[in-house]
């Protein structure tokens, strides 16, 4: 019993420390939104991917970075309606 409790608290600790750590009730939407935010942040961090986007879109790098930031607010649209069960 004690061990079980322990694992539970460890998980909670992880979930609060690392955004996106899954739990039993993670919805598809949450998971996807997290994936997208992670990807977008990674694109911004890797300068050559940013260059790649800037060339493909023919926009300035600052604009591409700004667009990526803007997409992070809601990368996958609004969340689905919660079904009350």
């Amino acid at each position: 019993m004690g061990e079980r409790y322990n694992i539970h608290s460890q998980l909670e600790h992880l979930q609060s420390k690392y955004i996106g750590t899954g739990h039993a009730d993670t919805t598809k939407f949450e998971w996807l939104t997290n994936q997208h935010r992670d990807s977008l942040a990674s694109y911004m961090g890797h300068y050559d991917i940013l260059n790649y986007f800037a060339i493909a879109e023919n926009e300035s790098k600052a604009r591409v970075r700004f667009n990526l930031m803007e997409r992070m607010l809601q990368p996958c649209g609004p969340p689905p309606e919660k079904l009350d069960d």
Binding site: R37, A41, Y52, A54, N58, Q74, P79
Partner: protein, 1228 residues
């Protein structure tokens, strides 16, 4: 297969640039982040030229870079945010010419992650604290201080985290000596994540949040937060304390806002727009970068818009309360990723793409007729100011740093028939695109060329006095005469120099403090400063055949074998040494080193004899002219040269003018004496000469050319260098802790000497047939010499017409207008202008409209208009790369985008002609990817490649992403379909199809019956074409997903793959796989057996993996030097050109593996990223050794070098030689 990664040309794109006094002197330096390397530049304020002091690879990804200075300090430190999960503070050590890690604090995981800080930096302007932030949630503040020894200390981190909050930018607010304050642009997504209606996301406002670091409580508090009206992209800190009002400028779409804490109300000003702009009218305008200039009395900001227009921004204050923002159009330069204003009045612009520029700020734009916009001017909501862009008025271009970034694709080929292949590189974006032809070599700038009255044999320059800065005479020797030219404003002949003009000259030089010496066949002429002449006549019938001279010594040979030695005594007389010495064979050449500072003589004489030896003779008065050592040579020596090279300070001392520079620098690290031996068979040997015993050791060999090698000692950047002349001229010099032996990109020269005058402080005077040339080498350290030819749109791909060597280049731009649409739009706007005008203004309106139509701003500076999403412009251009002439170009209609191109011979046509197949996408939208289908255009190329004949267009329902010739037909990847087309009369005819590629085909290679198809995200599929059944069968694939950018076949079973995340991997089909398929009689197994998860039944094997760190855009198996072996050449988006070199022996591999291991331990990467984990960022590194890390061995401290060498049971010299050997065997 084992490979060795070698960077030939470091990345040239700049991601960040900061300036400061990093060396602690008065001069300002610029530190550039080139993505994965740091480079320190020093602009010379006199000449305006930029010199590179240092360039270091850091084996990590630099995400943020800042300079800071502790309060009251004189030296700037550098703080680097990278993917290492660590904060690293660096200091530049001018004495060692190295960046050193002062502090390294770990705070998180490595990698570019969402919540690990490293993306943003903010510095307290007083240098007391630094904040490092992640994209989401985390922010850490570190307090910086000094300890009792005045060393920099760093505190433990203070957290300022806030979950569910994204950060756009952060900046340190200048609050004087109050508690440090940081301003962050933030947005909270918590609510919008919970609201299914989507209203919350619409409602969510970006906030400007101030964080205060309470130095007393050692705690960070969220001081104040305020929602903003529109989303901003960056902040600029405004000087505070005694210098200004403090606060921040918020740059958001279309608006610039000033905000501060306290009573200050916001000041808002719209961003001015270009008058009559062709841009999409819906587009907003943002500022992309800024530079702040502040002195004690004033400050201003330079802000650059997306179009490249720079505005000068000043703030009007009223009792430390800002009342007005003033904007003035300053000038237009290419869009930058960073700008720096230097104290000396220079503006450094690190372009986003393409070359970087250094401008001198000639005017501050204070008193011209340019209109000034102000926030106080009344404007309707949504309205803005207009200005007219113009050519540079306030800035003067002084220097240009070439940059290849972005390299879209490249190819190694010898189109110019020069026996050394050239590198053809498509660079740049939009109107700043170029085709660059790169050749290995130093660029030579020709200062002067003058004809001489005959063919001279030799040339020298001499100074009148030893301490003169510049040379006084150029002496040219002919077969039977000597010509003396004096150097002044002009170069003209003189007769009063004291030199004997009626005889050929063997050598002349300055002697002692103020005398000159001329050695000619009949004697030695010693010319004193008061024009007294002492002559030493050759005895009897003997004549002088060879000689060697330095500042104090003269050695001559009489009749071939006899050596006579002279030395200058303290009174300035030349005294002959009593004994002469007879050599065992005829003397071919001799050399003396320069006299070291504070010594009487050079201690050794090197003599090359006809018996294929070089001997070192001692010049010590106690045992003068006695032999010390000897080295046998493969063929007779033609020329010798003794030089001292390898001062670590040599690179900086040239430009360093700091008055507080320590005087011991020249003696701080003595160089080594090298004996360079030029052989008659065109080989150059470089041997180390022991300064005490005169022993020769550690010989390096290099083949230079077909003619005997002549050597000349010259000065380069204040240090000695050797100019070696064979059928090509080479310069051997020491630069940034490494030896370079680089060919000069110039015609063959015969004789040369150093040259120094007011116009050209470090030049070369050389002769070539009957001309005298003055040359300068400015770009030391550059690997490639480049010729650039401009293009109109972003180049995508090119093919080379094999018969003529002409290039067909596909250019395509998104968000752009074709020429036709552009002129139509212009016409339309002009029409609007005319019709909008009232009766009385009609004439004026017409004039304005005409002026508007006729006005053409060069787009390479002023940027092409941004047409809007989903608008494409394309053209096909035929270019003669030798002359840079565009032979013809074919424009496509608006919104047709060239996606692929291939040159094909069709067997049905049976005409032996080449055809150009062009894959075009129509009305393509990038994200999400939607298109109106595509088409395949076929052009017939005439045999001389001087025109294209349009054959027909074939409509297809998908985007043709890749094309490839295959057995006299065309392979096309249309979306996810792989098809074989054959040439028809009116259309291409579909012959065969495979539908099993998962997403989208981006690359096709073919060899024999095999086809290697790359998917956009699922790596490579191996297909076999079965002619009898007319089937394309996938028989093997890769086990990993790879987002392929480039591939190349290494052999029938092996393919090299590069992906979008900067990895290279090599996949090989195991033996079992190949046999199975070729012998499977029905092919049914491969056809029906789908294996696991619908993959192919057989898998390729990964044999090499390596993370390069930049996106590789082209891969090619090629040789770079004549006689060299093949290597895998790659070029990356950020402008790196490199090679993967195969190891030929297990022994070499073991050696470098050990060296790499020791280097990882002894010399961990500068910015804290673990080398092994960096190279394994995506896939574990496999069978590839990192030559870039191994080569850092050359620049680490001698003690460390020794200890590593000891561990490997070798000497440091042996290791250096190995490193040099593997490089020169494959590349340069």
């Amino acid at each position: 297969m084992y490979l060795y990664n070698l960077t030939l040309q470091k990345g040239t794109g700049v991601t960040h640039a900061v300036h400061g006094n990093f060396s602690g002197g008065k001069q300002q330096e610029i530190l550039l982040s080139r993505g994965k390397s740091l480079e320190l530049l020093r602009p010379d304020s006199n000449t305006g030229k930029v010199h590179t002091l240092l360039s270091t690879e850091i084996f990590g990804c630099i995400r943020a870079l800042m300079a800071f200075r502790l309060t009251g300090g004189t030296k700037d430190y550098i703080v680097v945010g990278s993917d290492s999960g660590r904060i690293v503070i660096l200091e530049y050590m001018p004495a060692k010419n190295a960046l050193e890690k002062v502090h390294q604090e770990t705070f998180g995981k490595s990698g570019c992650r969402r919540i690990v800080p490293g993306q943003y930096f903010a510095i307290d302007p007083k240098g007391r604290a630094v904040m490092i932030g992640a994209v989401e949630k985390q922010k850490l503040a570190y307090i910086m201080n000094r300890d009792t020894q005045a060393r920099l200390t760093i505190s433990s981190p203070l957290e300022a985290h806030k979950s569910n909050t994204l950060t756009y930018h952060m900046v340190g607010v200048d609050v004087g000596f109050d508690n440090p304050m940081f301003a962050c642009l933030e947005i909270d997504y918590e609510e919008s994540d919970l609201d299914p209606t989507g209203d919350a996301a619409q409602r969510t406002q970006q906030t400007l949040t101030f964080y205060e670091l309470d130095l007393g409580l050692n705690h960070v508090v969220r001081k104040y937060s305020e929602p903003l009206e529109e989303h901003a992209n960056f902040l600029v800190s405004v000087p505070g304390g005694n210098d200004g009002p403090s606060g921040v400028l918020i740059c958001s779409e279309n608006y610039l806002t000033y905000k501060n804490l306290g009573d200050q109300h916001d000041i808002r000003c719209p961003i001015p727009r270009r008058r009559n702009d062709l841009d999409d009218p819906e587009r907003g305008m943002i500022f992309i970068c800024s530079a702040t200039h502040r002195t004690k009395s004033m400050y201003f900001f330079l802000l650059q818009t997306e179009q490249g227009d720079i505005f000068k921004i000043t703030l009007e204050t009223d009792d430390d309360v800002v009342s007005e923002i003033k904007l003035k159009y300053f000038d237009t330069v290419p869009p930058a990723s960073a700008m720096c204003v230097l104290k000396t009045g220079f503006l450094f612009v690190a372009s986003e793409f393409g070359n970087h520029y250094l401008y001198q700020i000639a005017h501050l734009g204070d008193d011209d007729d340019e209109p000034e916009f102000s926030s106080a001017m009344p404007l309707e909501e949504g309205e803005t100011f207009f200005f007219a862009p113009r050519t540079l008025k306030n800035l003067v271009l002084v220097d240009e740093l070439p940059s290849f970034a972005p390299i879209i694709t490249s190819q190694v080929a010898d189109l110019a028939n020069e026996d050394t292949p050239q590198l053809y590189v498509l660079c740049g974006r939009g109107p700043r695109s170029t085709l660059r032809v790169l050749r290995h070599g130093l660029e030579v700038s020709e200062m002067a060329v003058s004809e001489l009255p005959g063919n001279p044999n030799a040339v020298w320059t001499v100074k009148k006095r030893a301490d003169d800065e510049f040379d006084a005479y150029i002496i040219v020797s002919f077969v039977n005469a000597t010509l003396v030219l004096s150097i002044g404003e002009t170069v003209e002949e003189v007769t009063d120099s004291g030199f004997l003009g009626t005889t050929p000259t063997l050598c002349c030089a300055a002697l002692g403090d103020d005398a000159l010496v001329q050695v000619y066949p009949d004697g030695i002429r010693h010319i004193r400063s008061d024009k007294r002449v002492n002559e030493w006549k050759a005895p009897g019938k003997k004549s002088i055949t060879k000689c060697a001279v330095n500042q104090r010594q003269v050695v001559i040979t009489l009749s071939g074998r006899e050596l006579v030695y002279f030395e200058m005594d303290p009174t300035g007389e030349l005294n002959e040494y009593t004994e002469r010495s007879e050599m065992p064979a005829e003397i071919m050449c001799m050399a003396l080193g320069t006299v070291p500072d504070g010594e009487q003589r050079s201690w050794f004489l090197a003599v090359g004899l006809a018996d294929n030896t070089v001997r070192i003779l001692s010049l010590d008065p106690n045992n003068c002219l006695t032999p010390c050592s000897m080295q046998a040579l493969p063929s007779p020596a033609e020329s010798l040269c003794l030089v001292e090279m390898g001062h670590t300070e040599s690179t900086t001392s040239a430009g360093a003018l700091d008055d507080d520079a320590p005087p011991q620098r020249s003696g701080s690290n003595k160089g080594t004496i090298y004996l360079n031996i030029g052989l008659s068979n065109g080989v150059l040997l470089r041997t180390v000469l022991d300064p005490v015993s005169g022993d020769l050791a550690d010989t390096r060999t290099r083949y230079l050319g077909s003619r005997p090698v002549k050597l000349f000692r010259i000065k380069m950047q204040g240090a000695e260098a050797v100019l070696a002349m064979s059928s090509r001229s080479w310069l051997s010099y020491y630069h940034q802790n490494r030896f370079h032996l680089t060919p000069l990109s110039y015609e063959t020269l015969e004789y040369a000497s150093g040259f120094s005058s007011e116009q050209c402080s470090e030049g070369i005077v050389a002769i070539s047939t009957n001309t005298l040339r003055i040359l300068a080498l400015e770009k030391l350290g550059a690997v490639f010499n480049q010729v650039a030819f401009p293009l109109q749109f972003t180049p995508r791909t090119f093919v080379i017409h094999p018969d003529t060597g002409r290039m067909l280049i596909a250019e395509t731009d998104h968000n752009a207008y074709t020429e036709d649409t552009k002129s139509a739009r212009k016409e339309q706007m002009a029409e609007e202008m005319r019709s909008a005008a009232g009766d009385e203004e009609r004439e004026l309106a017409r004039e304005m409209a005409n002026a508007f139509i006729n006005e053409v701003l060069p787009e390479d500076v002023f940027s092409a208009p941004k047409a809007g999403l989903g608008l494409w412009a394309s053209q096909i251009r035929c270019l003669d790369a030798m002359h840079g002439q565009t032979m013809f170009s074919v424009s496509l209609t608006q919104n047709e985008a060239i996606m692929s191109m291939a040159m094909v011979k069709f067997s049905v046509a049976a005409d032996g002609r080449y055809y150009l197949a062009v894959g075009i996408a129509r009305d393509l939208q990038l994200n999400p990817r939607i298109s109106q289908g595509g088409c395949l255009d076929i052009y017939k190329i005439d045999p001389t490649c001087s025109s294209l004949e349009f054959m027909h267009r074939t409509e297809i329902d998908e985007i043709p992403g890749a094309l490839c010739g295959f057995q006299g037909r065309l392979l096309a990847g249309c979306g996810r379909m792989l098809r074989i087309y054959d040439l028809g009369k009116k259309k291409m005819l579909r012959k065969c199809e495979n539908k099993h590629i998962p997403y989208q085909i981006v690359n096709i290679q073919a060899m024999g019956h095999r086809v290697y198809v790359s998917d956009v995200q699922e790596s490579v599929f191996f297909l076999r074409y079965r002619r009898a059944e007319n089937q394309l069968i996938i028989f093997a694939d890769d086990t990993h997903p790879r987002w392929v950018t480039a591939t190349t076949l290494l052999d029938y079973d092996t393919i090299a793959i590069a992906d979008k995340f900067g990895n290279l991997s090599i996949q090989r089909l195991p033996h079992s796989v190949t046999d199975d398929v070729d012998e499977d009689p029905t092919g049914t197994k491969s056809l029906w057996d789908r294996g696991l998860l619908s993959g192919a039944s057989q898998k390729s094997e990964n044999i090499c993996s390596f993370h390069v760190g930049e996106i590789i855009m082209s891969l090619q198996k090629a040789t770079l030097i004549p006689g060299g072996s093949e290597a895998l050449i790659y070029s990356t988006l950020n402008g790196t050109v490199g090679a993967f070199v195969p190891f030929t022996s297990r022994e070499d591999y073991d050696f470098f593996q050990h060296l790499e291991m020791h280097m990882r331990n002894e010399n961990p990467p500068l910015c804290g990223r673990d080398h092994l984990s960096y190279r394994s960022s995506y896939y574990p590194v496999k069978n590839v050794l990192d030559g870039d890390l191994c080569e850092q061995y050359l620049s680490i401290e001698a003690a460390k070098q020794k200890s590593i060498a000891g561990d490997m049971f070798r000497t440091p010299n042996q290791i250096c030689k190995k490193l040099e050997d593997i490089r020169t065997r494959y590349a340069f």
